[in-house]
Amino acid sequence: MKAREVAEKLNMIILTGDGDQEVTGLYTCDLLSWVISHASSGDMWVTVMNNLNILAVASLADVACIVLPENVEADEKLLERAQEKEITLIATSRSAANVIAEASKWIESER
């Protein structure tokens, strides 16, 4: 299922990117060097980190998209750079645990 579709199913907001990436797994962690070596290509990555470094990590780890949970804010600079790098950035009021639990229903139902 595409990132855009998962976002739709969970009523999450797409801030940047086209959401066209295929989501093949789910991952959540905030330690960047942990994420970069443990997240898999195609994962929907949920993190409360909202600094610019998450964009480099996302593109180097080939994750499908980034989800900012619990109303974590994305500032102008983050939005601008994410747009530039064509990274799909999603925002939601849901908790990380809830995003993972709910999204897994849709991603698994497709396998």
Binding site: L32, W34, A56, L60
Partner: protein, 143 residues
């Protein structure tokens, strides 16, 4: 572009002023390798290892430089800085060991996983470090 017998050399300066831009060199190398037709798995290994070295040069030193050499056999990445050096290399290689400051930790760094990640994702890794002079990390991934 295509991997020929010719050696491809790339050079990037790693700037420590724009902390948030760290990773630019790794991203650029990742793109180049993909364009050259290197397998996605190999590209990811190089990208992760190089990113960790690049970030360390920014966080723990005052920036530095990256030199990349691509041949049909291997990709070699050399990251050098003129920072404080690493006093105890054995300790630094342990997963979880970190001297990252609180402000850097707040950005999500400081898990103490950078050097272990470099080791894990490369075929060969060498660290040449001298107190007060700097650190040079050499990363080799075979194609």
């Amino acid at each position: 572009m295509e991997l020929s017998e010719e050696i491809i050399r790339l050079h990037y300066d790693i700037n420590d002023e724009d902390f948030s831009a760290a990773g630019e060199a790794s991203s650029a190398v990742k793109k180049t390798l993909s364009r050259l037709g290197v397998s996605p798995e190999t590209v990811k290994r190089v990208a992760i290892a190089m990113y960790e070295a690049e970030i360390n040069a920014v966080i723990h030193a005052d920036g530095g430089a990256a030199d990349i050499e691509i041949t049909p056999q291997q990709i070699k990445v050399v990251i050098s800085d003129r920072g404080p050096g690493i006093p105890n290399m054995e300790a630094a290689m342990q997963p979880g060991f970190s001297t990252a400051t609180e402000s850097v930790r707040e950005l999500g760094f400081g898990a103490g996983m950078g050097l272990p990640n470099m080791k894990r994702y490369t075929d060969e890794m060498y660290v040449d470090t001298k107190i007060g002079v700097g650190t040079t990390v050499t990363l080799i991934v075979k194609i």
